[in-house]
């Protein structure tokens, strides 16, 4: 019974962490899929989103307002980054990545300058405080809420991607950049919007994760590497891959922390190594 409870708690914790990772990694994966940009600043979007959310929530006492203002501000920042800087090096992977790297460092230092070095925890919305009981296990409601939100986001992304015209254009751009441009799609505009959407989702994830994991300097790179592991495991440019990869990495990370806390970061190495060795494109990725 105790083992069962342990498993249930850790699985739920892992799922809620995986939900946050999905918000972060789906954008990263799509940006990589469409534009071949490895966005080193993606973790920074998450962190800045959480910080902006924090400031807004402390002033307005509205969690929803905090979540949306954080996401929108960072979405615009992402769009501007793509339009002004990355556009100068279309499809040149290395210079683009170096630019995002420069921005990641600038963002990190700006965050330190504005919000200081102390860790913060965002206040969760009042009606989601407290815990609920699931078959004998006490579990915070807010974590369940995060899992629910990420599921809704994943479903809408899937519907958007698979059922709408814009989604079809996006998939065309992922599949073959040149041909998509050749048949008259405006690939640069699609790419720019993709980039903005990815930044928006990451920042949204930052505010969502704030009440659970808090926000502190260094969070950006810590999550970035986890998000990259998700992309490697799930496959580049694949939404399904991001979802499965996030859940897998969330669970492995969480069970690692619970069972072998000293080697927890290293436990991620095993699944990643196995998948990279057996299927270099990731579970759902194509070349």
């Amino acid at each position: 019974m105790i083992l069962g409870q342990f498993l249930l708690v850790q699985t739920l914790n892992g799922l809620s962490f995986g939900a946050l990772l999905f918000l972060l990694a789906s954008g990263l994966s799509l940006i990589y899929g469409v534009m071949r940009i490895v966005n080193i600043a993606h973790g920074s979007y998450y962190m800045l989103g959480a910080y902006i959310g924090l400031s807004v929530i402390l002033r307005t006492h509205s969690f929803a307002l905090g979540a949306f203002s954080g996401a929108i501000v960072i979405g615009v920042v992402g769009l501007a980054m793509e339009r002004i800087f990355l556009r100068k090096f279309p499809l040149q992977a290395l210079p683009q990545m170096m630019i995002t790297l420069g921005f990641a460092l600038v963002f990190r230092d700006l965050a330190l300058l504005i919000w200081g070095g102390d860790p913060y925890t965002l206040p969760s919305p009042v009606f989601l405080r407290g815990s609920t009981e699931i078959s004998g296990v006490i579990f915070p409601i807010y974590r369940l809420f995060v899992i629910g939100v990420a599921t809704v986001v994943a479903l809408s992304l899937w519907l958007f991607n698979d059922k709408t015209l814009v989604g079809a254009k996006l998939r065309a751009a992922v599949d073959d950049h040149e041909m998509a441009g050749g048949v008259g799609l405006n690939v640069p505009i699609i790419s720019g919007c993709m980039f903005g959407l990815g930044a928006f989702l990451a920042a949204f994830g930052g505010v969502m994760g704030g009440p659970i994991f808090g926000v502190y300097p260094g969070l950006d790179f810590e999550l970035l590497s986890l998000a990259f592991v998700v992309v490697l495991v799930g496959g580049r440019g694949s939404l399904k891959g991001s979802a499965v990869g996030s859940i897998l990495v969330g669970l492995v990370d969480n069970f690692g922390k619970a069972l072998v806390p000293e080697l927890s970061y290293f436990t991620l190495f095993a699944p990643m190594a196995i998948i990279v060795a057996i299927k270099p494109t990731g579970l759902f990725g194509r070349d």
């Binding site: 100068k88 992977a93 460092l105 000293e262 970061y265 190495f269």
Partner: protein, 341 residues
């Protein structure tokens, strides 16, 4: 024609000679007259120069940008730290086990990364580097976690000199730097090094020519890691302290900037880049805490305005000077020809 060639050679050799004399003065003759602040700074520069050159084997010569290079540097430094502080091991044991372990790690990691190219290589090395960082950060019983390991004493290397003296240690590091520079220079100019360059230019072509490109990339990765391990050992002794921050992503990013700023594929360029970054980091830190902001800006500006790196900009500039000289000579010859007619 002969004269033009002569002038060209003279121009190039003059620049080289001036550079060599300057380097000799700054690195060999003057250090005893530096203040202790400058001696430690130059020592630091040389260690990072070795590290940057080791990454250049991978980035500049093989065309693979590794984002986890600081991981190897840190792994070697940690082994030295643990062996010195806990088991009071001597220099040779520390050196060989540190570099040995680094090579073993790179042999394992290499299996995962050697098939990859371009950006994909970069993502995998980033994730692997962070795995090493995570180990240093969370494996508290061995690494001390966030606090790191302090109290690493410099070893007795069996010579009648004391490494505790900064100047003596500096000259030891200088010798170490020169040995590494010569080894790497021979390495990249060897037939193997040339095949690496071939892979950088076109991997598929090299494969068609019958080269085992996977093996070449694998060995390039392992050798770069080994040199990073050398640098790590000497860094641990130099600094006396090691923490996870010396092997995190920011550290790897700094090494990459050293290579890019100096000019990938030139060896001396990245060494120069290392000097500049180490200097800036120390110099700026004395005045402001905004080092990362400045580093990030340098990054963006380098990509926008000097994507080839300083060394290559310098080379182009010298070539430009040669062209100018050639053009002037051609003009003079023309004028002469006119006068004659």
């Amino acid at each position: 024609m002969g004269e033009i060639r002569k002038m060209k050679d003279l121009f190039a050799s003059k620049t080289k000679l001036i550079g060599l004399i300057l380097a000799f003065l700054v690195l060999v003759v003057l250090p005893p007259f530096y203040t202790s602040y400058w001696v430690t700074l130059v020592t630091q520069m040389l260690i990072f120069a070795v590290l940057a050159m080791s990454l250049d084997i991978l980035m500049g010569y093989t065309g693979l940008s590794s984002f986890g290079h600081a991981g190897f540097f840190g792994a070697a430094a940690y082994v030295t730290a643990v062996l010195t502080t806990r088991y009071k091991m001597g220099f040779l044991v520390c050196f060989f086990s540190s570099v040995g372990l680094t090579i073993v790690i790179s042999l394992i990691f290499g299996l995962l990364v050697a098939h990859a190219t371009g950006v994909y290589f970069l993502i995998i090395t980033l994730a692997l580097g962070m795995c090493l960082w995570g180990l240093a950060f969370r494996w508290v019983t061995i690494t001390g976690g966030d606090n790191g390991i302090s109290g690493i004493v410099r070893p007795n290397i069996g010579l009648p000199i004391s490494l505790k003296d900064p100047i003596t240690y500096y000259y030891v590091i200088l010798v170490f730097f020169l040995i590494c520079l010569i080894l790497m220079a021979i390495y990249v100019r060897s037939p193997f090094g040339h095949s690496l360059k071939g892979i950088r230019e076109s991997e598929s072509r090299m494969r068609v020519l019958g080269y085992n490109t996977w093996l070449h990339k694998y060995l390039s990765y392992v050798s770069a890691a080994a040199f990073a391990g050398f640098a790590g050992v000497f860094w641990a002794y130099f600094n006396g302290f090691i923490s996870p921050y010396e092997m995190d992503l920011t550290a790897s990013i700094e090494i990459i900037l050293m290579v890019i700023l100096g000019g990938p594929g030139t060896l001396i360029g990245p060494a120069l880049g290392a000097g500049i970054i180490v200097f800036l980091k120390n110099f700026i830190s004395a005045y402001t805490q905004r080092w990362l902001l400045i580093l990030g800006t340098i990054y963006i500006l380098t990509i926008l305005y000097a994507p080839q790196g300083l060394m290559n900009v310098l080379k182009d500039w010298i070539k430009g000077g040669q062209k100018k000289a050639e053009a002037e000579e051609a003009e003079a010859e023309e004028a002469e020809a006119k006068e004659v007619s």
